[in-house]
């Protein structure tokens, strides 16, 4: 059947049921498309499990991050709700105050991630607080009428979800007919709550989950984009009826809470009882994700500096979306396992060692072809070289050892990186970056101790005062103690020794306090000439003065940190077999995530040679 027609633009193709096979699995396509057939199933399985792991981990992180916010919101709802119940009894109160409890949720610029936030928020509320939740978006509500329609539609639908299905038809019809007004809403609310009250015992479970007479929560996802008039009208109208049913508003705000006051005139905003909630900024969110996912040994796959830069730049320059960042990371996983036949070894160490033993000859050849492995071979003695290049078993042994080395390297790398970050993040002007991800990139890129920034940060560190130094050292000790690395006992000992030395210094200082300060001598002189002379002398003496004990110690500490950095923060691409665990084709990532169609067109038209490779062009 052809897809060319003069009368039709859509064509559906359904294979006949006989012919229809069980649809091919994803693994099949993985195998088909991968560059090397070796171990593709195993690779695919590893890839899948890793993806799942990452996904669950990120979800968990997000949950944790949002937990605080949601807890606050729920308690806010509870408070406003209890006020309503009280009001129900106190008639005076009810007539007097017409304020609508409102939560202003400051979320920051990003839009796409907020959908997830709101979705999980409404889930949380639905599970714990109330079934009556309406999510409104500005683009659906150009007028107050549309808003009410949307609101009623959502509320009544969610009511249906709770109720049994036979009522669905009735509700459905009524919705389209019913005039969307506040009265309808109130009537509906009363009937709905009444129904939940008179529910059969079998349904008690659902009602016990929610509170009695649950509040109606209306969430405005993007408050700034709503037209002022619609918002005003809605607030004014609903404030008239606030006594009759418990309404709570939640405003999603991208800019600042001030916007409420600039959008709504005082007469309207005074009808709102606003409480402010601040969600975590997306940058912090990203830092947490990077911290928990990339800067651990938990996941075997690592990103090279370029790849990480591309991802971070897409985040910073394009969308501020953590979801997209994670998506990019997922793509990295797929690409790595798909394109690299040796990625089969990219798993936890024990498993990897086992897999090394079952490597085929072809795979061994693949290992030999790795540039880092070649470098390693060249550094060996000649007999060893021959063995490595010809005998598979000796190669496997070496690979096992090297993988172990790599693992140890990572185990040491991250804690030391964190320690270094503790130092550099408190320096003025942040020569090595404020965020740990910048430091990480710098360390991955090349030998960090050869860079100018590192030099200057060391110099700055040599000027730190004692209390800072002590707190930093304490932090480092904490980090090292909590890390799983095996070699850190020694370092911890050394750092603790430094700490005690500082302690001693302090005591020594207190004793020395009585000594006469040079300033006192100064005051005796009144002659200008003499004053100058003494000042010069003082300067001279200061320059040539022997370092104090504290300064000596400080130098020692900084030098020690420097030695740690030189020892542990070797860039990964100096390590043998780093190709197995590092994904480093940044161009692929960029092409697929941050494509430039315009440039492609431009090149194709101006420089067809780059595509066609014809000599004529």
């Amino acid at each position: 059947m052809s897809t060319r027609s003069l009368s039709k633009g859509c064509f559906v193709f359904k294979p006949s049921p006989k012919k229809r096979k069980v649809s091919r699995t994803t693994a099949y396509y993985f195998r088909e498309g991968s560059s090397d057939l070796e171990d593709s199933e195993l690779r695919f399985a590893t890839c899948q499990s890793l993806q799942k792991q990452v996904k669950s981990e990120t979800e968990q992180i997000e949950e944790e991050l949002n937990e605080q916010l949601f807890d606050n919101l729920v308690s806010f709802l509870r408070r406003s709700h209890s006020a309503f119940q009280e009001k129900k009894t106190e008639w005076t109160c009810r007539t007097k105050s017409r304020e609508i409890p409102t939560a202003a949720l400051v979320l920051g610029v990003n839009v796409t991630d907020h959908d997830f936030t709101f979705r999980s928020l409404s889930e949380v509320l639905q599970n714990n607080v109330t079934p009556y939740i309406a999510l409104l978006e500005a683009k659906d509500c150009p007028g107050i009428k549309n808003l009410m329609q949307k609101l009623l539609g959502q509320l009544m639908n969610c009511c249906i979800d709770v109720d049994s299905s036979e009522e669905e038809d009735y509700e459905h019809v009524s919705r389209s007919r019913v005039r969307c007004s506040m009265t309808t809403l109130i009537n509906w609310y009363e009937s709905a709550t009444k129904r939940t009250d008179s529910e059969t015992p079998g349904k008690k479970r659902t009602s016990s989950r929610h509170w009695q007479s649950p509040p109606v929560v209306v969430i405005f996802k993007d408050m700034e984009s709503f037209t002022t008039k619609v918002l005003q009208d809605f607030v004014v109208i609903s404030s008239q009826h606030i006594g009759e049913f418990p309404l709570v508003l939640i405003f999603g705000i991208a800019t600042s809470p001030m916007i409420i006051h600039s959008l709504l005139p005082h007469s309207v905003s005074s009808l709102l009882c606003i409480e402010l909630f601040q969600s975590l900024s997306c940058k912090d969110h990203l830092s947490t994700i990077i911290d928990k996912i990339l800067l651990t040994t938990q996941f075997p796959l690592k990103l090279s500096e370029k790849v990480l830069q591309v991802l971070i730049n897409i985040f910073l320059y394009h969308d501020f979306s953590v979801q997209n960042f994670i998506k990019g990371f997922q793509l990295c996983i797929v690409e790595h396992f798909h394109s690299n036949p040796l990625s089969v070894l990219c798993c936890q160490l024990e498993e990897a060692k086992r897999r090394v033993n079952s490597l085929s000859h072809n795979q061994c050849e693949n290992v030999r072809r790795l540039p880092s492995f070649r470098r390693y071979v060249e550094s060996q003695v000649s007999e060893k070289q021959i063995a490595l290049l010809t005998v598979d078993s000796s190669l496997k042994e070496a690979v096992q050892k090297l993988l172990e080395d790599l693992n140890v390297y990572h185990e040491n790398y991250f804690p030391i990186l964190r320690c270094l970050h503790v130092f550099t993040s408190s320096l003025p002007k942040y020569p090595l970056g404020k965020q740990i991800r910048e430091l990480h990139c710098a360390c991955l890129e090349n030998r960090v101790w050869e860079t100018e920034e590192y030099e200057s940060s060391l110099q700055l560190a040599r000027m730190l005062n004692k209390s800072d130094l002590v707190t930093m050292l304490q932090k480092c000790v904490e980090i090292l103690v909590s890390s799983p690395g095996r070699e850190f006992d020694e370092i911890v000992e050394k750092l603790k020794e430094f700490l005690t030395q500082f302690q001693k210094l302090e005591e020594a200082y207190q004793e020395r306090d009585e000594s006469i300060s040079p300033q006192k001598e100064l005051q005796k002189k009144t002659n200008l000439y003499h004053l100058q002379k003494t000042l010069l002398e003082l300067k001279e003496s200061r320059r040539s003065k022997k370092l104090t004990k504290f300064e000596m110690l400080r130098f020692e500490v900084v030098d020690y940190i420097d030695s740690l950095v030189r020892h542990y923060l070797v860039p990964a691409d100096h390590k043998t077999l780093h190709e197995i665990v590092y994904f480093n084709t940044a161009s692929v990532l960029r092409e697929h995530l941050n494509a430039a169609p315009r440039i492609a067109l431009h090149t194709a038209l101006n420089n067809p040679y780059s595509y066609l490779k014809s000599e004529v062009l």
């Binding site: 897809t3 027609s5 633009g9 859509c10 064509f11 559906v12 193709f13 359904k14 294979p15 012919k19 229809r20 649809s23 091919r24 994803t26 396509y29 088909e32 498309g33 990003n110 839009v111 796409t112 959908d115 830069q309 591309v310 730049n313 320059y317 969308d319 979306s321 979801q323 793509l331 797929v334 798909h338 084709t585 940044a586 161009s587 960029r590 092409e591 697929h592 995530l593 941050n594 494509a595 169609p597 315009r598 440039i599 492609a600 067109l601 431009h602 090149t603 194709a604 038209l605 101006n606 420089n607 067809p608 040679y609 780059s610 595509y611 066609l612 490779k613 014809s614 004529v616 062009l617």
Partner: protein, 569 residues
């Protein structure tokens, strides 16, 4: 980036051109009158140089920032880009609007350069140049013509240039005088500056003259293999693009103006596709990605193809090779009357076998989402050719398609062609679509996609319109026919008037009354409604609120129609 380097190099050269030197030259060769002007010019030059330094400072910083951004994005990464996307954004986006400050700076550095080189007088310049021209024009016959005419223009219209050629020994004076000319006379300045750069390139690098002295073909040539980022060339590029060279060889000038559809088709069929082998190889490269696409579709991504050339055949091949055993939907976005509703309809009716209608596309979408969520065994591949077509690019349609594509068991693979197609999607839609971009530059002709469009080369026959006109009118009353005739005649009378808005209703009514065709404006309105229903006329309101009537048929058809009517009567 290299631009900055070049410029700073130019700024350095300024130093070893002493003012006295320039002055001496002027004093020696030119009269007092000229000298005055020259002095000013020198002052100008100085100012320029100053400006230049300031600019290059700014620029350098800017460039630095840009560089760091570009570098981190991996544009200049050393990884070999498989396709030609290694071009930086700067090259694409700036060529249309050259910065004024750049121009000045380049101009200045050019000025600064000329005296330095003037130490060697170049009497052989003119003959050399004329000798060059035919050589370069061998490349294309079309450029030859232009080249020649240009040369003629140079000689005939600008006498000072003639003078310059005669007084060739003093190259320095010449170039400066040219510059002053370019300052005063805008349209000549363009040419003069070109001349300067040609002269310059002659003196400096004879190898480059070929490229420089053929302005029409230069653009396609330069970027090919030699990436010489010469200052002159950059300058030249900026200038040549500011004045768009539009060919005046329009279709009107063709001997055989219009062909009919069949002949055009046959002719096109006969002409072989250029670089067929390379294009085939390119396509094979893309075909090897098919299983990767399938993998990524299954992993929750959707795929969008972009790049020059029709991607119809590629997607079709993908469909036939990978999707034979799956339920799939092909949407021809380029189809003129495609709507998102028809897409949804074909999903609900043919894929889900649902009989019944929906109140709105949103309801329909809801239904589809529900069905796909309920039944996890349902899978649907959606191929959309030209997702950015006129009918689908609307915000609502894109929203619906995006929501559709975000379903885990609907796999979308689409192609886009419009240069600004990505602007269709905001953040929200983009995250729903979850695109993976693939560059597939195929260089194949857009045959299928444009088959619904009218070609400029094809003569519009209008026979269909004529037959429908007569058909409809035959079923009407004589009075109604008369009314239509009246309108048609009036329109033909005004066919030379390009801004003819149509016949206003009041005038029309008057005329109809005079011809005893209607007796009240109600009857006329009733007739017009009938015409409108058959799409014989179109009404539109003018700026003054008056209703204008127009027959939406071209004039030749209309006169044919009137002739025929006359015969009938």
């Amino acid at each position: 980036m290299s631009l900055a380097e070049c410029r700073s190099a130019g700024a350095l050269e300024v130093k070893f051109v002493p003012d006295e030197d320039v002055l001496r030259h002027i004093a020696d060769d030119a009269g007092i009158k000229v000298q005055k002007g020259k002095n000013q010019l020198i002052a100008n030059t100085k100012r320029f140089v100053k400006k230049l330094e300031a600019i290059s400072d700014d620029e350098a910083q800017e460039v630095l920032e840009e560089k760091s951004y570009v570098a981190v994005l991996g544009v200049c990464g050393e990884e070999s880009m498989t396709n030609g996307s290694s071009v930086g954004g700067g090259e694409v986006y700036t060529f249309q609007t050259p910065k004024r400050s750049n121009k000045m700076a380049e101009l200045a550095s050019e000025l600064a350069q000329t005296p330095g080189q003037s130490a060697v007088p170049d009497p052989s310049k003119c003959p050399e140049k004329t000798a060059k021209t035919p050589q370069s024009s061998k490349r294309s016959s079309s450029s030859q013509v232009q080249q020649k005419t240009k040369k003629n223009e140079f000689v005939s219209t600008t006498p000072y240039r003639l003078r310059k050629r005669l007084a060739a020994p003093d190259a320095q004076l010449e170039s400066e005088s040219e510059y002053s000319a370019s300052c005063s006379e805008e349209e000549e300045g363009e040419e003069a500056q070109k001349e300067v750069s040609t002269v310059l390139s002659h003196q400096k690098t004879p190898a480059k003259t070929k490229a420089v002295s053929t302005p029409p073909s230069r653009k396609t040539l330069t970027k090919k293999k030699d990436n010489m980022n010469n200052l002159v060339e950059e300058y030249f590029e900026a200038h040549s693009s500011s004045k768009v060279l539009t060919s005046d060889r329009t279709l009107q000038k063709l001997r055989r103006k219009r062909l009919n559809q069949q002949t055009l088709h046959d002719l096109l069929q006969k002409s072989p596709l250029a670089y067929a082998a390379e294009i085939k190889e390119l396509n094979q490269q893309y075909e090897s990605l098919f299983s990767k696409w399938m993998l990524q579709l299954h992993l929750g991504f959707n795929i969008v193809l972009y790049g020059l050339g029709s991607k119809h055949d590629l997607l079709e091949k993908f469909r036939t090779s990978m999707l034979q055993d799956c339920v799939h939907l092909v949407v021809n976005g380029y189809f003129p009357s495609i709507t998102v509703k028809s897409v949804l309809n074909s999903i609900t009716e043919e894929v889900l076998d649902h009989i019944g209608t929906f109140r709105s596309p949103l309801d329909q979408l809801e239904f589809i989402v529900k069905r796909f969520k309920e039944d996890s065994s349902l899978e649907l591949y959606v191929l959309i050719h030209n997702l950015d077509s006129q009918m689908l690019r609307g915000e609502r349609s894109q929203q619906i398609l995006a929501q559709l594509s975000s379903l885990p068991s609907i796999y979308l693979i689409a192609s886009i062609d419009h240069i600004n197609a990505p602007l269709m999607w905001d953040q929200a839609k983009q995250s729903l679509y979850n695109w993976l971009w693939y560059e597939t530059t195929t260089f194949s002709p857009y045959v299928e996609e444009t088959s619904y469009e009218n070609s400029l080369l094809v003569q519009q026959s209008g026979s269909l319109a004529l037959s429908s006109l007569t058909h409809v009118l035959r079923s009407l009353t004589p009075n109604a026919r008369g009314i239509f005739r009246l309108l048609a005649q009036y329109q033909l009378e005004n066919k030379d008037n390009a801004s003819y808005p149509g016949l206003s209703f009041q005038d029309f009514y008057q005329q109809c009354r005079e011809a005893f065709l209607v007796n009240s404006d109600l009857t006329l309105r009733a007739q017009l409604t009938e015409f409108r229903d058959h799409k014989l006329i179109r009404t539109k309101r003018g700026a003054d609120g008056v209703e204008y009537l127009l027959i939406p048929v071209d004039d030749s058809t209309l006169s044919d129609f009137l002739e025929k009517e006359d015969e009938d009567i």
